[in-house]
Symmetry: C2
Amino acid sequence: MASNGEKVKVFTFSISPFVNRVLIALEEMGVPYDSQEVDMNNKSPEFLEANPVYKKVPAIVHKGKPLSESLVILEYIHDTWSSSPSAGTTLLPKDPYDKAIARFWADFVEKKFWKAGWRTTLTEGETQEEAKQEFIDSFLLLEEALRKTSGGKPFFGGDDFGYVDIALAPFIFLWPAVEILGDFKIPFGRCPHLSAWSQLVSQRESVKKILPSAEAALEYMAGVRKQALSTSN
Amino acid sequence: MASNGEKVKVFTFSISPFVNRVLIALEEMGVPYDSQEVDMNNKSPEFLEANPVYKKVPAIVHKGKPLSESLVILEYIHDTWSSSPSAGTTLLPKDPYDKAIARFWADFVEKKFWKAGWRTTLTEGETQEEAKQEFIDSFLLLEEALRKTSGGKPFFGGDDFGYVDIALAPFIFLWPAVEILGDFKIPFGRCPHLSAWSQLVSQRESVKKILPSAEAALEYMAGVRKQALSTSN
């Protein structure tokens, strides 16, 4: 049991990589939680109270206080439980510069990497080609970031599975869907570090426990793509 | 002089609210810095080396190490100089939940508030009406956030001019331009807390020193609007 008390309540939606970041972080830190799947077509008052601004998952409630936005929640988990005896890891590095670099790359996953992957799965024609190229470029930038910040160790930042790893990990299971729906191949051959990283991370207990299957991801993403294309045509 | 050494080099562009966040934070913390205005049409190799990913200002170099993205830099300034004797303030609160809430609202300024204001100044017709409404809605949400987190004190978070104040302050001088180019009035009457906050913040030494005039902002924004509309028509 983690110190610093009461169970965290997490509002979830099983396919969401943003939710899965929070769940993986709680697993890694040994923090007890209850999760509650949100019906996206019929959002409960309790959920809306937890995230009145964006009305999106993830949202958590801890000690009666609500919080949302996945990276904000990861920082909160770090600040609250890093020194807990049950914590298997510390999410963010101690050194202010290393910490800033970790924040920079987690933010990059948000701003560039996932958006390009998402656009790839929802568009066609020229727009999709542009999105694919941006996705591949982002992949190559993350490869370089991993090479530099790992210093020859397995994870972003070195030996410990931390903030950037957790920010990126939930996207691994979406990659086959992005490839299939975008009709292209992610250049893993040009990304040896990221390739080894994703294999290692896929086998991690917390990740195996939390992430849905690639098949479930593909089915969901194919449905969203179909709907997006029918609306835009 | 701040402890923790060597001067910070800041790559700037005088109208940028994102740059001005960094400069205001350095002023508030008593950190010595040199600024270098970037020619956006002819970016120097030194600047591109400081921000190879986004190629945007602000970027800083401290002790030979580059960093970019304004909120990431603010966190770095907090982590590096909060306990410095010259620091007039501490940017982020100590309590993990208060800290998370500050991060949430600074991120909101980024994701919603400034984007809606920017879109308002660059569009016309129905798109502009939608952007204006989103800007006004964001204003009302920030009013509520200020009311709640200030607890009757002047700033977001209470007595100290901190992270959210600094994230939002550089937008004050843009508001008249947004009103003029959007041909509407910001509902200050419905935002008494934000109204008092902006008057107080405008008079703060660091803010007066760093922010350009509302006239300079209007001239720049009008130019960008003209170009945007001529490209889209």
